[in-house]
Amino acid sequence: MGTERNIRLATLALALFAPACIAQTYPAPQGKAASGRAAMLASLQRGREIDVRGVQYRHLPEVLAVERESGAAPPGEILESKGRLVLYRAGAAGAPAVRRAAGKAVYPAVLNTRTGALGVLTGNLIVKPKNMADAAAIAGSHGLDEIQAYPQLQTVIYSAKPGVDIADVSAALQADPRVASAYPEIIEHVRVPK
């Protein structure tokens, strides 16, 4: 139901244009919109590199994400929506840190260099300690808040305090000998009704 409009349009198109035989036609894989997106991505300033499970992301210093509010004026040039989050081009570049403005979280954004997808850094970090007993100590060492530990997954989710550079703390965690793996949480694909 989440793609209801697309389905309707495509269904109508199929009813109108589907050939009796299988056509050797293929939708232009990159049309005008895709070219526009490529140009948009090319125009964005690149920041720090962040490693997430072997995939390289680049911080986009001038892109931020906030909760979409109906009727509210866009805080800048809208680039993309991810569910209830809207990504926009801010007036000035900033660090990869979550901030709060007018009581709302303002998230930094990243670019997946493998796929070209934009992502949102939530300020959380997914960490696998070598020993779960070190979870609290790891939080203390890196100035993090422990949100929840999952012993059955050998995983702890931490939160960076507002204003803390997520790229820095992620790199520091990855270098911590008590840590098996660590990466920042990135919302890249929103799960939608299917």
């Binding site: 198109a13 894989p29 998230y107 796929t115 997954l153 949480e185 694909h189 929103v190 799960r191």
Partner: protein
């Protein structure tokens, strides 16, 4: 007492209550004096198996021991005799060719065959189900009786009420929940498991969908939300993507943990929507190719063997127009089309074919059914939906998923000892082949050089594998059959699947094989799978590294040692001109039950020539799950 099969029957007489647990004679503990009157009533009906017990010769005056009072219990119910006024239009339960308030009727008999399960009294009684979705209207008139008090969770405010107050055009989760467990009563319709118990976790409505909320919705949490006591997780969601994505290892670990540790270590059931992207996905529209634009394997969560991935079928008994195809589908189930009325919306074609009749946000101010929505008379608040508490326009693999969840709830009631793999096995063994004459999609991959012209079966249609299981990328192992599944569950021999294990990834060396443009010959390679530890396949994962500037052109297939061919990724799909497949994992269920020992062959075909250079199969690996 005769016919008693359930538990919890209690009789009442003159201030005394008498629990009755078995057939035969019964006696109240407190004797009545001669001349006293007696009046035996049913104080509470049996729970568990749905039964109705009635008293004959229940009243009179005592003169001696009374031996003429009899109680007879009758098991079961049926869709046709249900008091729920909308049940007669719920074609997925019993398809009589009804229109479901759309314009065009379906095909009689194309349903999930649930009456044989209902007739035995199975109703999903007490089976806890989590609807991980946009919300759940816990006070809805046809859901409230089945909502677990305090069992739901709202991630946006921390309460246990996930009623959706944000969306005004329908709450997806409420409509999903109705298909599982609309109660047996005198309002609305009937769930597939009308006594299953519901929890709603509104993960999809979060502003920022965090990993913590995802894990906690799917069994990782004992509180806020309480998901560790859930038996079945309904996942009517997925991602829209035009680029290859890899599974999140933490999420994979959670699914593994869920099937390993939940439900008393018998394993929770994770049921997931295949997707609605047959015609278009994300920015890509594939209309006219005849092949699925989105592949069920696009969502990396669907490539895990712990899932039951579900495709959608319409009331005519064929794939719903939108239903994403792919080898990762396990079974299919009714999901419907669009349920409109031409007189209201002006629509034609599949848009006026039956969708699903289910619960909707209450009232005519919001919901799929609301004043002025103009999709159908029913959705506009016309009779018999003047309350607008129901809709006839729910559809999608989002609908096929809860229908399957309901069937599993019936199975678990029939045999609570079933493990998660037993449930998958029973669904596979009892699924019904539909659309049997569906022809394969064969294309001629014609380059300008005649010698490379050759036909290519891009979509194989129905196959029968060496273990005797039929499989189709549209339908998986077939459409769920509730009656057959419950009957098999009842007599199922536990332990027959042995211990779940895997071969681990068996990898090729570096190959760097060129993939010729628009040639059915493609690039091929083989790998050998040993005779142990897996003797019977439960799922096959394929991992590939392929360089290509437009991987949407590529078709990827596996051929088993028994000669079974499965297309894990069809050509001309919605990956379009996304470049390269790097450690990309695909899953196929087409080999279910086969002996995997021997030589497996991968073939990669380039189905078009938008690119200017040939791609390359760099290397590949295969992992067999099974026993």
């Amino acid at each position: 007492m005769t016919g008693l099969a359930g538990t919890g029957l209690v009789l009442f007489n003159s201030g005394s209550i008498l629990p009755v647990a078995a057939n035969g004679s019964f006696a109240f503990a407190t004797p009545l004096a001669a001349g006293a009157s007696y009046n035996v009533l049913v104080f509470s009906q049996p729970v568990g198996l749905v039964q109705t017990c009635s008293v004959t010769n229940g009243s009179g005056t005592v003169s001696a021991n009374v031996t003429t009072v009899s109680v007879a219990c009758v098991t079961g119910f049926s869709v046709g005799a249900a008091s729920d006024p909308l049940a007669a239009q719920q074609w997925h339960l019993k398809n009589t060719g009804q229109t479901a308030f759309a314009d065009v009727g379906g095909t009689a008999g194309m349903d999930i065959d649930v009456d044989p399960a209902f007739a035995q009294g199975f109703s999903g009684s007490g089976i806890p189900v989590a609807v991980v979705d946009t919300g759940l209207e816990i006070a809805h008139e046809d859901l409230a009786a089945n909502v677990i008090p305090g069992g739901s969770f709202n991630f946006n405010n921390g309460s246990t009420d996930p009623t959706n107050t944000v969306d005004t055009t329908g709450d997806h989760g409420t409509s999903v929940a109705g298909l599982i467990a609309m109660a047996r009563n005198v309002v609305g319709g009937l769930g597939v498991a009308p006594n299953a118990k519901l929890k709603g976790f509104n993960f999809l409505s979060m502003t920022a969908q965090t990993e913590q909320a995802f894990l906690n919705s799917l069994g990782a949490s004992a509180a806020n939300p309480s998901s560790q006591n859930v038996f079945i997780f309904n996942q009517s969601f997925g991602i829209d993507t035009n680029t290859p994505e890899l599974v999140d290892p933490t999420e994979e670990s959670q699914y593994l943990s869920g099937v390993t540790s939940l439900r008393g270590a018998k394993g929770a059931l994770y049921v997931k929507a295949a997707g609605n992207g047959f015609l278009a996905v994300g920015a890509i529209d594939c209309t006219g190719t005849g092949l699925s634009c989105e592949n069920a394997n696009f969502d990396p969560a669907n490539t895990l063997p712990y899932q039951i991935v579900v495709g959608a079928v319409n009331a005519g008994g064929i794939k719903a127009s939108y239903s994403t195809a792919g080898s990762a589908i396990w079974v299919s189930a009714p999901g419907g089309e669009f349920g409109e009325n031409a007189s209201v919306s002006g629509a034609t074609g599949v848009l006026v074919q039956p969708a699903m009749v289910t619960t909707d946000q209450s009232g005519c101010a919001r919901g799929l059914s609301r004043t002025g929505v103009n999709t159908s008379v029913f959705n506009n608040g016309g009779a018999p939906n003047t309350s607008c508490n129901y809709t006839n326009r729910m559809n999608g693999t989002s609908s096929a998923t809860p229908v399957t969840v309901g069937v599993i709830a019936l199975m678990l009631e029939a045999n609570p000892a079933l493990g998660w793999r037993d449930v998958k096995h029973i669904l596979a063994s009892t699924a019904r082949q539909i659309d049997p004459a569906r022809a394969p999609v064969t294309l001629t991959l014609a380059k300008t050089v005649p010698s490379t012209n050759n036909p290519y079966v891009a979509e194989p249609g129905w196959i029968t594998n060496a273990a005797g299981f039929r499989f189709h990328d549209w339908y998986g192992l077939g459409m769920v059959d509730a009656g057959a599944a419950v009957n098999m569950a009842k007599s199922y021999t536990l332990g027959q699947l042995g211990t779940f294990t895997s071969t681990g990834f068996i990898a090729s060396a570096a190959l760097n094989l060129s993939i010729p443009d628009q040639s059915a010959t493609g690039a091929s390679s083989t790998l050998s799978v040993p005779a142990a530890p897996v003797h019977a396949v439960e799922a096959v994962q394929l991992r590939v590294n392929i360089t290509h500037p437009a991987v949407g052109e590529l078709g990827i297939e596996l051929i088993s040692p028994s000669g079974t061919r499965s297309v894990l990724k069809n050509i001309l799909d919605g990956y379009a001109d996304s470049a390269d497949l790097a450690n990309q994992v695909f899953l196929s269920n087409a080999f279910y039950g086969e002996n995997p020992a021997g030589t497996w062959t991968i073939k990669v075909v380039d189905g078009f020539d938008f690119d200017t250079s040939n791609g390359m199969l760099v290397n590949w690996a295969i992992r067999i799950y099974g026993h």
